[in-house]
């Protein structure tokens, strides 16, 4: 297995040979390397079951959770390449600085519930929250943020772009049956929804199979258009070649 070793100053892939057992995942191999060959190999993980979203990396170029990547997915004998997520600044080895995401999270207008029933509880029908529950499955692995070209290829866009994870979050808020806030302005001006040109790369990598583009982004775009049609932004989009 070829694993990236290095920090912000530089680094290189280093080759490790590890005997595998039945059922192993990439993260198991990384742990074996730590225990026997490179004690200080830096990696994040927690649940080892695809629930916490800590162990994101790029395995053979594909962004995925290392704890859910079975070794038998890869042809035996061929080297497997494990690299850190590219979009975020490298801290060390496989660990990146994902604080961008936590900064965006702080700016999102909070849930603003309407009035509860007289007994103090909410009545919501299952069919009205199915979509919201889909969005709440997000484990904040930030793989979608990692593949989105708007920030992957253009880090300078980060201050103006929330990214797919946060479009999912905003869609969850907007579609919450009890929510009363209006976030169209935020979406347009701060979250940079307009930068998204629906390439669907985010949806492809989401380990929770959230249909980020179809179910979150497109409905949000429609909302923004109906709630606030702004010719300046429209013109900007046209001129910059974005849809």
């Amino acid at each position: 297995m070829r694993v990236w070793r290095g920090d912000a100053k530089g680094g290189a892939f280093k080759e490790f040979r590890v005997p595998t057992e039945e059922g192993m995942v990439v993260l198991d191999v990384i742990h074996k390397i730590q225990a026997t060959q490179a004690a200080d190999l830096a990696v994040r993980w927690n649940c080892k079951a695809g629930k916490c979203g800590s162990c994101s990396a790029e395995v053979n170029g594909r962004p995925r959770l290392m704890c859910m990547a079975r070794m038998n997915l890869f042809p035996a004998g061929e080297p497997i390449t494990v690299a850190p997520m590219k979009t975020f600044p490298l801290i060390r080895d496989l660990v990146t600085d994902v604080s961008f995401n936590y900064e965006v999270a702080k700016t999102i207008p909070a849930f603003k519930p309407g009035r509860a029933e007289p007994d103090g509880t909410f009545r919501m029908m299952q069919e009205d929250i199915d979509r919201g529950q889909e969005f709440h499955k997000c484990i904040e692995c930030f793989l979608c943020q990692n593949v989105c070209h708007v920030i992957r290829d253009h880090p300078e866009n980060k201050p103006m772009f929330g990214g797919p994870r946060f479009f999912v979050r905003l869609a969850a808020l907007e579609m919450h049956p009890m929510d009363t806030d209006a976030r169209a302005e935020y979406l347009r001006l701060k979250a940079g929804l307009g930068f998204c040109n629906i390439t669907k790369c985010c949806t492809e990598v989401c380990p929770e199979h959230i249909k980020i583009t179809d179910n979150a982004i497109i409905p949000l775009k429609e909302r923004v258009v109906t709630e606030h049609y702004d010719p300046v932004v429209w013109l900007f989009r046209k001129l910059s070649g974005r849809r």
Binding site: D7, E21, E22, G23, M24, V25, D28, Q34, A35, T36, A39, D40, L41, A42, V43, R44, W45, N46, C47, K48, A49, G50, K51, C52, G53, S54, M68, R70, I91, R92, D93, V95, D97, V98, Y102, A105, K106, I108, A110, F111, P113, A116, G120, T121, F122, R123, M124, M125, Q126, I129, G132, Q133, H136, K137, C138, I139, E140, L173, H176, D179
Partner: protein
């Protein structure tokens, strides 16, 4: 403040731990006007709470209007084999429904009943369907809701920052000291109050549902500061962890599988739990398969299936079946929902179990049974606290969540942890803030204490020895798994103490190479100190309780001893030694005794 050498901060309340308990405590403390910090070893939102699956227990009475706090109280006490702190059990049962509704008001989306209220599911030891849930990812919903609520409350969050020691001014807590994992740089906090919400100790065992974070840091911080532990011997082994393939052994399979109709079978295809109904629960447990199956839909006229006996009972039964040679091919038993519920239902109710088995074990749980066996899961005991205020024996030090003991007695019921986090997290935050507000004296941080902690952290870099922390951790896990596991004997426990001593020796020879930037070997070397301390606490407490009760089973004392049921085993630190004594349990008021004695 004599801290100029290191990064330093000053707060009213410092909350250590950002799982459900820590987040809820921080939200409350800051709502009370306290300047609040929230510190965690991982990124925010990755704490254990995120992994919780089955649900939050609260007597909302949405499915069974007969349910109320009294029934919940009774179930909790009986599940804990009456070793529980009765006042905690009472407050927990009374306040859990409000805490769940509060989560909903903060944006959580629980699964619904047909008339749009919160749906509740069956779980082990709960008389009525009581667990508010979101499929099998309830913890994710809970931590995200709390996290998103907390973000707007002006709490200062310190992520990937590990606390290694508490600072004291005389008898009081006055701060905390630790390091940033990213840079290895030290950071000191001066504060009037500290809330410990650091969770459990499951990484002491080889087969465990817990993550790397569960090294018992909070328990050790508390002991070092002078607080007391109770019920450490009653560690919980969850009956159903994955057993195959080897690399996933221990990963949890939610009790919700049984709550939703799954049943345990041995290699002969027998539903063996019917053979293991203890006298204590006989009157309320179905003794035929027909009654057990009817119970899922008609709870009034039927008794609960033995598949949903409390966890200690089920774990012991599985252990016995495997020992008797009736286990599954990989040393577990079968958990079958495929033959009992249709695929659509299974995928809707248990999506992450479906996914987990499919991806990790090539098993389709809608078509085949799962193979499961016991896995180290939850610290029933922990730091002793005052029920109402969550105060420990040390002024200024509070504790809530899994790190605190008392509520669950000798065995926790499923779902009672998430509700525990909310109820006592809130109380800890509230009382820590009030304590900070009322504290009028001055606190001084002693530079000597800070420097001693800093030196201790750096030792592994400076040594000559050649020990590898990963190897020591592995040996510790082997030791605890084989000698301090589900079934214990005096001889094995004594042997474990000897091994722990030699592991401690080896720890002193750990040598860390490389630098301080995100160096997991160094992090583990530091965490090993707490792992060894908690392992010793569990082992010593287990020696002291010469009976079998709840999570603690002694082969040499297989029965419960009514006299020992009246005491808690208390662990303290005196100098460098851990001391163990028995102390009487607080006496329960008459009206609660009546509740316990009540029907059945």
């Amino acid at each position: 403040m004599a801290l100029d050498k290191h990064e330093a901060h000053e707060f009213d309340v410092v909350v250590i731990g950002a799982g459900g308990a820590g987040l809820r405590a921080a939200i409350e403390a800051s709502a009370q006007g306290a300047k609040t910090a929230l510190i965690c070893k991982s990124l925010l939102g990755k704490a254990h709470t995120v992994m919780a699956e089955g649900g939050i227990a609260a007597a909302l009475g949405n499915i069974y209007p007969e349910d109320n706090w009294k029934v919940h109280f009774r179930d909790t006490m009986r599940g804990g084999k009456l070793l529980n702190n009765w006042r905690m059990a009472q407050l927990h049962a009374q306040e859990a429904p409000d805490r769940v509704r509060e989560l909903e008001a903060w944006g959580a989306l629980f699964d619904r009943t047909a008339d749009g209220r919160i749906l509740q599911r069956d779980f082990g030891g709960h008389r009525y369907a009581r667990l508010a849930h979101v499929g099998d990812r309830t913890g994710l919903e809970m931590i995200r809701t709390l996290q998103q609520h907390a973000v707007h409350k002006g709490i200062d969050v310190f992520m990937e920052c590990t606390i290694t020691g508490l600072l004291k001014d005389g008898g009081r807590v006055c701060g905390a000291f630790g390091y940033w994992r990213e840079s290895g740089r030290f950071v000191a906090f001066k504060t009037k109050a500290v809330v410990l919400a650091t969770g459990g100790i499951g990484k002491a065992w080889k087969f465990s549902s817990n993550s790397w974070e569960y090294t018992g840091d909070g328990v050790t911080l508390a002991l070092d500061a002078g607080a007391h532990l109770i019920d450490m011997e009653c560690y919980q082994f969850h009956p159903t962890g994955m057993v195959w393939p080897p690399s996933v052994r221990g990963i949890l399979v939610t009790e919700g599988v049984r709550g939703d109709g799954g049943t345990l079978k041995n290699a002969l295809g027998e539903r063996f739990m019917f053979k293991y109904i203890p006298d204590f629960f006989r009157a309320e447990t179905a003794d035929t398969e027909e009654e057990a199956d009817r119970w899922y839909t008609d709870k009034k006229n039927n008794r609960r299936t033995p598949d949903l006996l409390p966890r200690d009972e089920v774990a012991r039964a599985i252990n016995a079946e495997v020992k008797a040679g009736r286990g599954s091919p990989h040393g577990g038993v079968f958990l079958d929902i495929a033959s009992r519920r249709d695929a659509e239902y299974i995928k809707r109710r248990l999506p992450s179990m479906y996914h987990q088995f499919k991806e990790l074990a090539d098993v389709d749980i809608t078509k085949e049974p799962m193979e499961v066996g016991p896995t180290a899961h939850y610290m029933n005991g922990g730091v002793r606290v005052d029920a109402d205020t969550a105060t420990t024996a040390v002024p200024g030090l509070f504790a809530a969540g899994e790190v605190a003991g008392g509520l669950h007695g000798a065995n926790r019921l499923g779902g009672n942890s998430l509700s525990d986090l909310l109820v006592f997290g809130r109380r800890a935050g509230l009382h820590a803030a009030q304590y900070a507000k009322n504290f009028k004296g001055t606190l001084t941080v002693d530079a000597g204490q800070v420097e001693a902690l800093a030196r201790e952290c750096l030792e592994p870099f400076e040594r000559r020895g050649g020990e590898n922390p990963y190897a020591i951790h592995q040996d510790l896990q082997e030791c605890m798994q084989s000698l301090v596991g589900i079934i214990r004997t005096e001889g094995e426990l004594k042997k474990a103490l000897e091994e722990l001593t030699s592991l401690r020796e080896r720890c002193r020879r750990i040598k860390i190479n490389g630098n301080r930037n995100f160096n997991p070997a160094w992090h583990l070397a530091l965490d090993l100190r707490s792992l060894l301390t908690v392992s010793e606490a569990v082992t010593r407490a287990a020696l002291e309780r010469k009976e079998s009760r709840g999570g603690h089973t002694r082969d040499d004392y297989p029965k419960a001893d009514p006299e020992l049921g009246k005491v808690n085993v208390v662990v303290r630190k005196a100098g460098d030694e851990l001391t163990v004594i028995r102390e009487p349990r607080p006496e329960m008021p008459q009206e609660l005794k009546t509740l316990l004695a009540g029907d059945k």
